[in-house]
Each structure stands twice: as C-alpha cells, then as structure tokens.
C-alpha cells in the first residue's frame, strides 16, 4: 500500500484551509464594513463555486489556468510555471470550492455583536489591528470556527474540480478522494474502503481536534458556563 494520498491530501487541504480562512475573514470584514452599491452582487458571485458542479468548476479553472488561459498563460510566460497537472492545481481547486463556505460563515459572525465593546477597546488606546485580534476575532469565533470546519472538510473531500485541473497522476496529484475513485474504477473495493475509512478518520480527527482546541482556548470565555 502506498500512503502518498494520505500526506498529499493533508498537505493540500491544510494549505487551502489556511489560505481560505485568512482571505475569507479579510474579505468578509472589508465587505461588512463598507456599503457600496452592488455589494450584494459581489457577495453572490462569491457563492458561484458552490452552485456549479465541481467538474464544471474544474473545467472553468482549466480554462483560466490552462496554457492558453489568462492566468495560466501569464504564469507560463513570467515564471515558466505550469499549474495544470501539479498539486498546486489541486490547492487552487480546493480553495475555490471551499471559499464560499468560509466567506458566508465569517460575514455572518461579524454582523452580530455589540460594537460598543470594540469602541471601549479603542478608547483604551488599542490600535485597530489589536482590537481586531483581541476583541472582534474572539467574539466572532463561533462562526469563524464553523467556517473553518466546513472549509477543511470541503477541501479534504474535493474531487471533481481537482481531477479536472490537477489530473489523476499517481504519487503526484493523487489525493484520497482521487484514490477512492481510482480504486472503485479498477474494481478494487478493499482499497477503496481503506481510503474511505482513512479520509473519515482524517476528517474526524481534524474536526474533533479543532472543536477541542477551540473549546479549550477560545469558547470557554465567550459562551455560557
């Protein structure tokens, strides 16, 4: 048995989650602060990857990041770097499909708290940056955690778009979902089951750990009892 998919999946989902978590929060924060016409439209565009079947998203990514695509062409010209068929492509796929989950959760969690508490921190001389990290962020945490969990789970389970842009190349772009697909495809049900159980264990452990860590470090200050 080759364990590459295990580490590859963790790496790809991990990197994608970190990027989505940060960008999702930043974007939600910016959009929640500024009101401009068409804001709702921008927000709806961000939901697009959730509405389309992942294969179609992958197809779109292939066009954008492919050799002749606007971004793919640029990357090739500038850095001689090709995204298609690399694990970077898988990271991009995971980012795109899980972004809406983080964005929605973050936007909701920044909406519902007492702004006066932030003001109190400001009067005490805390910079906006410090206020965000010490007040806004912990008070929004339950929603952010929900987004984090959804993002990681979605990134880990991503299959359709990944297959399209990263291809299924054993040892190079073979994440667990692709390994499951391939095992089923070649009639190898034991291997498929092995990988299904693996991904469930990875997902569970990560989510349990996130919940536990958050309960220990953050939630006990904000929620009742």
């Amino acid at each position: 048995m080759n364990y590459t998919p295990f580490f590859l999946s963790l790496k790809i989902a991990g990197i994608a989650t970190v990027i989505v978590f940060i960008c999702g929060i930043v974007l939600a924060r910016i959009l929640s602060r500024n009101k401009f016409p068409g804001k709702r439209i921008v927000e709806s565009v961000l939901m697009l990857p959730l509405v389309l079947p992942p294969t179609v998203v992958g197809f779109g990514l292939l066009y954008v990041f492919g050799k002749n695509g606007p971004i793919g062409g640029l990357l090739l010209d500038l850095f001689n770097f090709q995204v298609v068929f690399t694990w970077i492509g898988a990271v991009i796929a995971a980012i795109v499909v899980s972004f809406p989950l983080m964005y929605q959760s973050a936007a909701a969690s920044f909406q519902n708290y007492d702004k006066n508490i932030e003001n109190a921190a400001l009067t005490m001389g805390a910079s906006k940056w410090r206020v965000f990290w010490t007040i806004t962020f912990p008070l929004a945490w339950p929603g952010l955690l929900a987004g984090l969990v959804l993002t990681f789970a979605r990134a880990l389970g991503e299959f359709g778009a990944t297959l399209m842009i990263a291809g299924y190349i054993p040892n190079q772009t073979e994440t667990i979902p692709l390994a499951i697909y391939f095992a089923v495809e070649s009639g190898n049900m034991e291997v498929a089951l092995f990988w299904v159980i693996s991904i469930v264990i990875v997902g569970f452990s990560a989510i349990l750990w996130l919940n536990w860590w958050s309960g220990r470090n953050i939630l006990r200050f904000t929620s009742d009892n």
Partner: protein, 238 residues
C-alpha cells in the same frame, strides 16, 4: 564523494493520459515497458476520455494519449494537437450484457432476449460514454431502442453501470468484456459483434511532446506480442 550515479543520467519522463477503463492493464503494461527501457520513467494520468482530451486542449503537458474511443482522438486531430502519423489502434474490446442475481437467460444470444421483462436497464450515456453509444447501436439494431426508453438509466461511466447492476438496482446493464476482469459481476452474454461497430482504442503522440522518441517507443511497444498478451489477459483482445 562518489560522482558516479548508479542511475542513468538522462532519465526521460513520459506523461501518458490513459482512459480510465484501461487503468488495470496500463499499470501492468507500464511496469513491463519500464523494465525493458530503464531510461524512461512513465507517469500515468487517468480519467474519462473526454476529460483527458479537454485537459490536453488546455495545454496539459501530455506526451501520449490513449483514448477509449475515436471521437475524442478525432477532435484532437482536427485541432492539430496530435502527431497524426503516430496514431495507432492498439486494442479492441467487446460489449457484454451483465445482470444481477440468477438469470435463466444466461448464454442467450442478444436477439433472443426479451428486454421487456426487465424493469430497469443501465447503460452509459450514449452522448458521452463510448460503452453507452455502442449499447445504443445494439438496441437500435434490435429495433427496440424506442420501446424501452423509460426503462433506461443513463450512467456517467461504465463503473456506474457496474454499481447499479451489482447493487441490484437495475436488472441488467451493458459494459465491456474487459470490465468483467476487475469485478465479480455476473455475465449474461457477450453480444455478437455484428450488432455494433468495432470498439477500438486509439493511441497517439501529442504534437507538443518533447519526448517524441520515447513516446514513439512506447507506442510501438503497445503493438508488440508481449503487450498484446497482457492486453488479452485483461479482456482486450486483438
């Protein structure tokens, strides 16, 4: 320090996109090929033939394409993405009818089977799955295509047909002979080749490949007796 490496210095990489239905046999073929050509390392990319063709169209750095069907190879050919002269047909397959549970029609010829007795029949979507379009040909030739429309469940690939039949959600389904080698499914009958056009697997070298010689040697390997024997072992006959 030892400057001399054990490995040949100029190890060439070859990326082959192969139809998913060839996955089992390809692993074995590649092993054999690499043994015989130690200077070449092969990476395999699997997927539905259509997906693979679209990846190639978008600049995936593929050297060799093995398709399950002529249609997509033709499309690449028209777009001048393959080296036309390198195109060969290296394998053939047969269509079979599989069923769930015990069947009293085992071994019947397809024209003797009364398809009306089945509730549901799984076939690949004729528009996108080669196995499905061959199945459609058969049912058309039998003159029952129109009559059994509401019994048909279209699948996105042959694997899904197998799943439906194995889980006994459909009574029968149309798949390839080679698919039986990787599943314990119950074959009812092999369908006589007269009922549908030949199922052939084309291979070609990509126009953008910069490992042309290595690609060429792989394609000629496919036609060797050794490779053909392996293909036959997996249900592809030639």
């Amino acid at each position: 320090s030892n400057q001399d490496s054990q490995e040949p210095v100029n190890k060439k990489e070859l990326l082959i996109s192969s139809a998913a239905s060839l996955s089992n046999v390809m692993t074995e073929l590649v092993d054999t090929f690499e043994e015989k050509n130690p200077t070449i390392t092969i990476s395999l990319n699997f997927g539905g033939s259509g997906k693979l063709a679209q990846q190639i169209q978008q600049g995936a750095p593929v050297d060799v394409f093995l398709s399950a069907d002529q249609k997509w190879m033709d499309m690449l050919d028209e777009n001048q993405l393959i080296v036309s002269e390198s195109r060969v047909e290296f394998a053939e397959n047969e269509l079979v009818l599989v069923g769930s549970g015990e069947n009293d029609i085992k071994g019947y010829s397809v024209q003797d089977i009364d398809f009306n007795r089945f509730d549901q029949i799984a076939i690949g979507n004729p528009d996108s799955v080669p196995a499905g379009s061959y199945a459609k040909e058969v049912l058309d030739s039998l003159g029952i295509w129109e009559n059994i429309q509401e019994k048909l469940i279209y699948a996105k690939d042959v694997q899904q047909v197998l799943t439906y039949v194995e889980s006994q959600n459909t009574d029968i389904g149309f798949v390839y002979e080679s698919d039986l080698y990787s599943s314990g499914i119950n074959k009812i009958t092999t369908i006589d080749q007269d009922w549908y056009s030949p199922i052939v697997y084309p291979a070609a070298i990509m126009a953008t490949s910069n490992a042309f010689t290595e690609a060429e040697s792989f394609i000629s390997f496919l036609k060797t007796d050794q490779a053909q024997a392996i293909l036959q072992n997996h249900g592809f006959y030639n």
